[in-house]
Each structure stands twice: as C-alpha cells, then as structure tokens.
Amino acid sequence: MEIVLVGLNHRTAPVEVRERVSFSEEQAQRAAEELRARGILEETLVLSTCNRSEVYGVPPESSHECAPGLSSFLSEFHSVRHEVLSVSLYHHYDREAVRHLFQVAAGLDSMLLGEAEILGQVREAYRFAHEHGATGPVLNRLFQGALEVGKRVRTETELGTRPMSAAAAGVKLAERIFGKLSERKALVLGAGEMSEQVLSHLRDRGIAQLQVMNRSREKAEELAKQFGGKVVGWGEWDSALQTPDVVVGSVSAEEPVLRRDIVERAMAARGNRALFLMDLGVPRNIDAKVAELYNVYVYNTDDLTEIVQQNRNARESEIPHAQGIVEEHVSKFLSWQASVELVGLVDALRTKLREERATFIRSRMEPMKHLSETDRAQVEKLMDEMLEKVLLEPAQRLRGEKELRRKIQNVEALRDLFLLNREKP
C-alpha cells in the first residue's frame, strides 16, 4: 500500500513544457483508466492546474518500481519526448508524496505563496477522480487529509489573507475604511490593464456600482460592459465624484488629473462623506495635496507596493506555522496507513498459520490412528484457540496503540520475516 507521485510544476518546468503536459478533465479520466488498465497503478488521481501536472497513485507493487513506467506513460500520453520530460519531472514516494500533496493544498508550493485557488483545484480533482471510480481507500484518505490541511492552514494561519498585488491591496484598504463593499460605488479612471485588474478585484468583493471614465469613450464602454458598469464622460468631475466611495486613477497623464480644488469641491458637494483614492498612475493622477482634505484617504503606487512587500514578508513568516500543520497531518496519515497495513499483516499471518496448522495436523496425526474423530476435532480446536490467542492480543494492541504503529516503520520487513509476501497473488 505505497504511494507514488510523479509530476512537474512551475519550479521544475518552463511554461512550454507545463502547457504540453497539462490534463483536461477528459484526458485526466482517460489517463487514470489507462494507468489502471495497464496495471501501473491501482488507484489514480490527476491534479492539473496552470502551474502543475501531477499524478498520484497507489501501485500494485513497489512505488519505486512503478515510477519509471509512470514517467514513460506521461511522455507517451502527451507525446513529449522522454528526454525533454524527464528533466522536469519529480518523483516522490510515500512520506514525501504525502508531504508534497499536503504542502500543495496548503498553498506552500504555489507560485504565489498561500494562494487560495489551489485548494479548490485539489478539491475538484479529487471529486472528479472519486466520481469516476479512479480513487480507492488510500487516495480517498490522502486527499481528504489534504483538504483538511488546506482548510486548517487557511483558518489558523495568515498565509493567504494578505493581498499580494497593488490592485488587490488597494481594494483591501478600501475595505479597511468602508467595511463590506457591497453597498459602495467605485469610479475607475482609465481603461488599461491596471484598470481592468482593479475592476476585477472590486467586482470580486461585490462592489454595488462600477463607473469607468476614460479619454477614449469607446474603450471605457468596452471595459464597462465587461464588468457590468457605466461610463462617465471624461472630465465631468463635479457629477462624477459625487457618488463614488472609491476612486481609482490609472491613466497616462503628465499632470495630476484630480487636483485639490476638484476634490475639495466634490467633498463639499458630498457633505464630506469619506472618499478613498487609489492612485495607480505613474506619473501620479492625483495631486498629493488632496490627502490633506478631511475624510479623504489617498494611496499611490509606492504606498501600495510597500504594503504588498509587507504582506509578502508577513506571509513568509507564517510558513513555519503552516508547515507544522502539514507535518501533523503527515504523521496522522502515515499512522493510519501503518495501522491499515498492520491489520492486513495480522490477517495474512492468521491465514498462513491456519494453513500451516492444517498441514501440520495432517502430517502429525497420521500415525495417531487410535484417536477418535471427536478427539481429533478437539485437538484441532485447541490449536485454533491457541493461534487466536497468540494473534488476538497483538492485533488489538495494533488497533489501539498509535505509538506502537508509529514504531513499526517497515511493515514489508515483517511480511518478509513471516514469509507472507510469497502468498501475495
């Protein structure tokens, strides 16, 4: 009952390789079926995201033995030359494979440390494989554990809570002022890539109304349509600044487009209701003196970049905590795995001893013709009782004592000791 993992990710493979080795849902299903049909794996799960493609499995024999076959399969399945693929692939077995998956689910192995999406992707991959019957008891337990790790890391650490881009940091800051944005309005100046990013974050945070203002009305309309917003005519400051709570500046301009007198007039018209200005333009779109006004909060690109840097450091400082959770669950999983294997070993031992007992009785009772059928049956019964007694206590202790299971590291060695591997089909 070993676990094998073969895969590649953003650290080991360039995007050209990653995109060739990625799996669609249909491909994931087909790969899982083929791997089982060819006898390479008994249980299979394919995890494929934009940054990683990984195949988790339980091989019928030793995991180390099946890894080359799995690599060749991937190469053949995606029609990528083995020499090209092999340099990017990593192989993990048992404890390392378990640890790797738990780290992935925790967001510790992501390109953007602590990102939340990966947990959803792991959950989806597991659901898909489970629904198609590709997983079994081992992978079910493994992936349920991974989902638990991901959830715990997200609730017990701050690994994924801090925004990691200037646009996201700006939106998060707006929430520090207004709370939930679901009843707030935003105005975005500019229709470029940065505006699009901010609009996307604002929409994700459930902003009530979006307005776009741009010199080119056409572009503004296109962007507004994409995000379900409205277009405001360029330069109509008095009307445009009356309603929004958040204003984002992201236009190319030599001089600030939002001067102090414009904002001062707007604040008077809006009864000094709080206004959050996010200036993402370089050169700046908002006059620095605007920050002096009552209830006006101004953040420019440098301020936001500094926040992102602080957040990055804060996330990194949470790694040991998250790693601790991962290790706790790795031990838990390995303990479960050992218990299942040991119980299996005891069952196998019992079967073997019964067979031995039958042979033994046949050979040794042959000369004892004087024994009646009842006596023979009695002797057999006594031997059965003794075997049960010998096996019963260790079996119960294995079920009950976690520490004992942890101590017995190598179940295979015990199998070899009792010559149980020869009986395997």
Partner: protein, 270 residues
C-alpha cells in the same frame, strides 16, 4: 467572604484579555472565540461575586464607590459582549478588557468594610441607579471605540499600516459600533434619569431638584443626543464625531467622580 467567584472572575477576564490580544496579534479565529467564551464565563462569575459581596455586606452593589465600580465593570463587560455578538466583531476586545479588569480588581481588592445598610429606596430607585451605571458603561465603551477609530484613522491616513490595522474593524464599523453603544447609553440614561425623578418625587420630605448632578446628567444626555444626531451626518461621520464622543465622555467622568463625590448631596458615596 468566599473568594471563589472573585478569583474565578479575575482569572476568566485575564485569560480572555490574553486571548483577545493574541487574536489581535495573530488573527487566529479559534483563539478569539475562546476569548469570547471566557468573557462570558467571567461575566457569570462576576455576577455571583457581586451578589456575594452585596450579601456579605448586607447592602446593594451601588451603595459604595467600590461596589459601583464593580457593577460598572460588569455592565461594561455585558454591553461589550452584546455589541461584539451583534456586530460580529471581536478585535476590539483587547482594548475593552483592560478597563473591565481594572474596575473589577479595583473594586474587589479594596477593603470590604461593613457598610451601614442602605436606606430602602425601592425598586424604582434600584433601576434608576443600575440604568445610570449601564449608561456610563455604554458611554465608556463608545469612548474606547472612538479612541480606536482615531488611532486607526491616523494610521491609515499616514500610510503606517502595521500588523494590527489589518485586524481592527473597518472605520465604518467602528463608527457604527460607537453609535450603537451610545444608543444603549442614551436610552439607559434617559429612562434612568426619569426613574430618578420619579424616585425623588416619592421620597418623603423636601427634595431639592437643584442638585448639580441633575444638571450635569441633562448636559450628558444633551451632548450624547447631539453626538448621535451628528454622527449620522456625512459631514460629521468619522473623526469629528469620534472627537465629540471623547469630549462627551470627559463630561461623564466628571459627572461620575467630581460631581458625585464633592458637589452632589444625594449621589455621593459617603
């Protein structure tokens, strides 16, 4: 006197404070929840400590300054817990618990001399005092929330976002919490004052209606009503309203200390 409940209260408040601080520093939700539970435990133990003290001294909690302080601490904790549950926001607990602890410890570490039994004033009087202290507790809470608001607002304006700013409530929510607290205080002080007048009216003999306490209470009522009105307007919402709230609380402290102890004839503790 049995010390089980005072010790249990102090321990629960202290642990709750520690957990609220940890919650603020590390953001662990579970820690915050346990902090709330311990605050609830502290509240129950504090209630029994008050009850025991009153029984032991054969008096009501508000008969002396120490008892009033303990009752104030209990009502502050109760108001805060209500506010925390209503607004689902526990990150200000770390700032409120020290006040609760100080009032509780100051009251219960003080020498508990046997006091003369209080004159029997009746239920109306008891409600008058309890509601007035509840109002002071609610105003104290709004004071703490206003201080947090101004601190957070300054950090946000100066772009000095430490770890804590990300865990404090949004400014808008702090403003709402402060207004909720003032509303509790306003209702309590209005009803409490009205009951006080009724109680005085029922007392035999001549009673002066020109006690400075009456004037300052009406001033407090007017100032908080003004705050409540202005804090709802766009022009005042935010830092200005918070500053007014802090100013109002200074008057409350004046009313609770100087006026009660030195100027009032019927509200002093000696």
């Amino acid at each position: 006197m049995n010390h089980v409940f005072p010790v249990l209260t102090a321990l629960a408040y202290l642990l709750s404070f520690g957990l609220y601080v940890r919650f603020l520093a590390a953001g662990n939700k579970f820690t915050g929840r346990v902090g709330t539970v311990l605050l609830g435990v502290g509240l129950i133990a504090h209630y029994f400590a008050l009850l025991e003290r009153s029984r032991g001294l054969h008096t009501v909690p508000y008969h002396d300054l120490y008892g009033s302080m303990s009752l104030f601490g209990w009502l502050l904790a109760l108001t805060y817990l209500g506010l925390e549950l209503y607004h689902r926001q526990r990150s200000v607990g770390a700032f409120v618990l020290p006040f609760i602890l100080v009032f509780f410890l100051a009251a219960h570490l003080a020498p508990a001399d046997r006091l003369s039994p209080p004159a029997v004033h009746g239920v109306v009087f008891a409600f008058h005092v309890t509601l007035s202290i509840l109002a002071y507790a609610a105003f104290a809470l709004s004071f703490v929330l206003s201080i947090i608001f101004l601190g957070e607002e300054r950090l946000l304006r100066n772009h000095k976002l430490g770890e804590v700013v990300w865990r404090l409530p949004p400014l808008e929510l702090l403003d709402q919490m402060s207004r909720s607290s003032v509303l509790v205080g306003l209702i309590s002080i209005a009803v409490g004052t009205a009951l006080g007048y009724v109680s005085v009216d029922r007392l035999p003999g001549q009673n002066s209606f020109y006690d400075p306490k009456y004037i300052i209470t009406l001033l407090v009522l007017a100032l908080y009503a003004l705050y409540f009105r202005l804090a709802g307007t766009a022009a005042w919402r935010g830092a200005r309203a918070s500053k007014l709230c802090i100013f109002n609380f200074v008057i409350v402290v004046l009313s609770f200390t100087v006026v009660n102890l030195y100027l009032s004839h019927s509200h002093r503790y000696f």
